[in-house]
């Protein structure tokens, strides 16, 4: 943008990528974008992914999701929204589930990441993977790795006694039931809407009755 634009032109000029509510707000974001573009830098990041110690040179703006998908060719982790709203990118970091699109890879230097590829393989399926197939807990399959990783996280959270929004008694041991499961899995959207089958699959592995 040239510096001699009048205020009127300035206000009419919008940074195109910004889904702007106000025109002046867009310009602010355009300026920020310039700063960001200049600030980009590569940083070596050490990650332990599915048990493998790796060092990758990553643009510091790279999300954990894009590090996995674009740099490590681990495309089982899916990009559904890239803004933490759908759960398709769920992985385990140090055993806890996380939306990998909402975190930068460089923030996880030295940490252990588990992706769907590390949970089980076609020859040796994890019980959750086997149950998803048996209960038809998916259709298009795009949200599926996230659902399964999220389910793995849920089972661990319950075993650690972590309560949820629908846990009635915060002092008693947490017991998994359908209501708990649905609440805890609600960050993982399935547009094919395989929800009843997903719940059946996880219930099967968790070992409780509906």
């Amino acid at each position: 943008m040239s510096s001699n634009v009048g205020r009127r032109t300035f206000l009419k000029t919008t940074a195109a990528a910004v889904l702007a509510a106000t025109e002046s707000g867009s310009n602010l974001q355009a300026v920020n974008a310039q700063t960001i573009a200049k600030a980009s830098s590569a940083a070596p990041t050490r990650l332990t992914v599915n048990g493998n110690d790796l060092t990758v040179d990553l643009d510091s703006r790279t999300t954990l999701l894009d590090a996995l998908r674009e740099h490590l060719q681990l495309t089982g982790t899916k990009k559904g929204c890239d803004q933490g709203q759908c759960g398709a990118c769920t992985v385990l970091v140090e055993g806890r589930r996380i939306n990998s699109c909402l975190t930068l890879a460089v923030m996880h230097d030295g940490q252990a990441i588990t992706t769907i590829e590390g949970l089980g393989t076609p020859d040796k399926l994890h019980p959750l993977q086997r149950a998803f197939v048996a209960h038809d807990g998916f259709q298009c399959g795009y949200c599926t790795p996230g659902q399964i990783m999220s389910a793995a996280g849920v089972l661990d959270e319950v075993s650690r006694g972590v309560p949820s929004h629908v846990t009635r008694d915060l002092t008693a041991a947490v017991r998994l039931n359908d209501t708990e499961l649905r609440e805890r899995m609600s960050g993982n959207i399935c547009r094919c809407a395989a929800y009843p089958n997903i719940v059946a699959a996880i219930r099967d592995v968790a070992g409780y009755r509906a």
Binding site: T13, A15, A21, D59, E70, Q139, I148, E183, A193
Partner: protein, 717 residues
């Protein structure tokens, strides 16, 4: 094998993350990343577009705008097949809708492309746009046709007179909102050129349509376009048409002579991928005291766009659902400065039945009649408008079976009469109908000398189960173990199908594969009269066909199939829902839901049930959650992401079940199969809406039924 509840064949790939969707394909080597820049105004002109900063940004290989884009085929509404029409991008300086791509930035990495995209500076001359359907409804025009070949209007008798002459009638207006497919995989394309040949890994529902549309857009021969859609992360209508990401990837890849991949961001899906348009429905029902309908009418006024006509067939649902001598159905279109509407799962039926089946519930209340009994009393003997016989109409059976299984008799007879603590409880039901279509489809089945069978079709499996059911059909038809059948799909070097969309994929392709098996067997075993010892087929092939043998099967389109002229071919169902409404907060919770469906022979009960349940849940979303809202000042979808455009999540969905009646429709096709991809969403939302009325006594006619629409009418605590 047909009828067995087998696991999905691609299940192991999908649950282990080994299924590679288009953006993830490594076939072409390292691809550059393209990022689309969308218009920040809804109507106007690009006065200036400054790409200098973006071009200088690190890693940037290309910034493409309307000023330097290659010539493309013009939009052409005369191409008969809608999905094969050219889809030119970056053409000229005109902006026709908010988010319309105005530039593509290509860089080595995604981060570089995204950052550089924010440096493209566009100056617009903004025009005042029309964005509000209700405000502009008076400007509606009468289209020549509705989508899918339906007449825009039908008229029998005199509805106005029937309304005047009958003692009980309903004349109500419903609105259904802008509705989005939003598959979990945003549309994406990886494009690469080899000389004059273009290869695209792309997320589409139909291979041949994509190939032809892309060839027409790029002004090259279709044979030069090679399409591969091995895995597609859902479509629901939004991947029927070619979209900007694919054309831009192809153009950029040609310019740069390197592979380029482009995906929609989720927000771009809301801007670019097409939506089911907002509609205003006037439904009129004129009845005698005993519930006999004398008149029915459905007037639909929907949003359109000037650049191309899309008339969703929403007013067609009543044309064959109920008997009545006086009938009127009409489609009107109000052009606004919004994106073009496109098919979203159950186009026509999904919004149409929300309105019609809610209005039928209103009539049942007015008559003080069981809504099932009302529907049974108006069951037609013949298709009421086409005056042809129905094939496989078992709607009454669906309703009775569902009523029995659901415990309909225990429903609250009076609205707002059952309260459990702070929760008002209600039951609702609705009827479902979905028209069946048949599209020309070819398939090849090959048997190798070692007995292995290969099924070939360009049909896609977008989560529908195609891979699994085609293997079932071939294994059954050739009497070979299913483990020895491999299925090749979704590439443009394979026999052309009609693609996935319109609930016709299973019936089209299964029949074509069955005929190919038949052809193969004739080639090996001679005329059918000589067959008998089935096990001999493989040994005959081994003995006499050292290079293997192929059979070819073709299913004609419905226009060439007399059955579709002589019969009214539809699928049917009945949905039942129980809801609880919190008397204080107005929150609606679905408690349970059941659908009973009649959809011909079910090839795989496991995958079919999943698809139908998924559709029913879409009905729940349509009734309670989903609406895209346009900002009347700027013409953008203000809630264009998955946090603000609400879709059902786990916590919204309790126990849901679907029952498929044991069925076979010999008029539909030789295998008796009809589709189930959209049947689940047809009418199911109205069952939920009617349950909300039964619980609260409040009739919300503006979908979805959200808290603020219920709160004013809820009883004081």
């Amino acid at each position: 094998m047909i009828g067995q509840a087998l696991d999905r064949r691609d299940g192991t790939f999908k649950v282990t993350g080994r299924a590679a969707y288009s953006y993830e394909r490594q076939d072409a080597g390292q691809a550059a990343h393209g990022y689309m820049v969308g218009a920040a105004v809804a109507k106007g002109r690009i006065v200036a577009i400054d790409v200098a900063m973006a071009r200088r940004a690190p890693g940037v290989a290309l910034v493409m705008t309307h000023q330097d884009v290659a010539p493309q085929g013009a939009r052409d509404g005369t191409v008969a097949e809608q999905f094969a029409r050219p889809w030119p991008v970056l053409i000229g300086d005109e902006v026709a809708f908010f988010g319309q791509p105005v530039a593509l930035v290509v860089a080595d990495t995604f981060e570089q492309a995204r950052a550089a995209a924010a440096l493209v500076v566009v100056t617009y001359a903004t025009d005042a746009g029309a964005f509000d359907l209700a405000a502009h409804r008076g400007e509606a025009y009468t289209p020549k046709m509705a989508a899918a070949g339906f007449p825009a209007d039908t008229c029998f008798g005199d509805l106005d007179r029937a309304m005047a002459d009958t003692p009980v009638n309903v004349d109500v207006t419903y609105t259904t909102p802008h509705h989005f497919a939003q598959p979990m995989e945003p549309a994406a394309c990886l494009a690469s050129w080899n000389g004059d040949d273009l290869a695209v890994c792309v997320s589409v529902q139909g291979i041949a349509a994509c190939r032809n549309a892309l060839a027409r857009t790029l002004l090259i021969a279709p044979e030069r376009v090679h399409v591969d859609a091995a895995f597609v992360g859902g479509g629901f209508g939004s991947k029927l048409r070619l979209h900007e990401e694919t054309v831009l990837a192809a153009l950029a890849s040609r310019r740069l002579q390197r592979p380029v991949k482009v995906a929609h961001t989720r927000r771009q899906v809301f801007n670019i991928a097409g939506h089911g348009p907002e509609m205003i429905h006037r439904v009129r029902l004129a009845a005698r005291r005993d519930g006999t309908l004398l008149g029915i009418g459905h007037d639909v006024n929907m949003q359109g766009a000037r650049r191309e006509e899309y008339v969703e067939q929403a007013a067609t649902v009543l044309r064959s659902l109920y008997a009545a001598p006086h009938r009127l159905t009409r489609h009107r279109v109000t052009n606004l400065d919004l994106n073009l509407g496109e098919a979203v799962r159950g186009p026509g039926e999904a919004p149409g039945l929300l309105a019609v089946e809610s209005a039928m519930d209103e009539l049942a209340i007015a008559l003080d009649l069981d809504p099932i009994e009302l529907r049974i009393r108006n069951e037609p003997d013949l298709d009421p408008e086409r005056r042809v016989s129905f094939s496989g109409r078992r709607l009454v059976e669906c309703m009775r079976e569902g009523a029995s299984r659901f415990g309909w008799a225990a429903r609250p007879r009076r609205p707002a009469s059952r309260r459990e603590g702070d929760v008002l409880v209600g039951f609702g039901m609705s009827a479902s109908i979905r028209a069946c279509f048949q599209g020309a489809t070819a398939a090849i089945v090959r048997m190798e000398p070692d007995g292995r069978v290969i099924v070939k079709s360009d049909m896609t499996d977008i989560g529908t189960g195609t891979l699994t059911i085609l293997a079932q059909v071939a294994a059954g038809a050739l009497n070979v173990p299913i483990a020895g059948v491999s299925v090749q799909l979704a590439r443009s070097d394979l026999p052309v199908s009609a693609g996935s969309g319109g609930s016709w994929g299973a019936s089209n392709t299964c029949n074509a594969v069955y005929r190919a098996c038949d052809d193969l067997r004739r080639k090996v075993m001679g005329p059918a009269s000589l067959w008998g010892r089935e096990a001999d087929l493989a040994s005959e092939v081994a003995r006499r066909f050292p290079d293997g043998v192929e059979g070819e099967g073709i299913l004609p389109g419905m226009q060439d199939d007399p059955n579709y002229k002589e019969y009214s071919v539809n699928t049917y169902g009945a949905n039942f829902a129980e809801v609880g409404v919190d008397v204080t907060t107005g929150e609606v919770r679905l408690r349970r839901m059941l659908g009973v469906f009649c959809a011909g022979r079910i090839v795989n009960p496991k995958t079919a049930r999943s698809q139908v349940i998924g559709g029913m849940i879409w009905g729940v979303g349509a009734a309670l959650h989903e609406a895209a809202h346009v900002d009347p000042r700027y013409g953008n979808f203000v809630n264009g992401d998955l946090a603000e455009y609400l879709v059902p999540v786990h916590a919204d969905i309790p126990a849901i079940d679907a029952i498929m009646l044991d069925d076979f429709d010999d008029k539909a096709n030789p295998l008796g199969i009809k589709g189930v991809g959209e049947l689940g969403i047809c009418g199911s939302g109205a069952a939920v809406a009617n349950a909300v009325f039964n619980a609260t006594g409040i009739r919300v006619r503006d979908f979805p039924i959200t808290i603020e629409k219920l709160l004013p009418g809820l009883p004081v605590r």
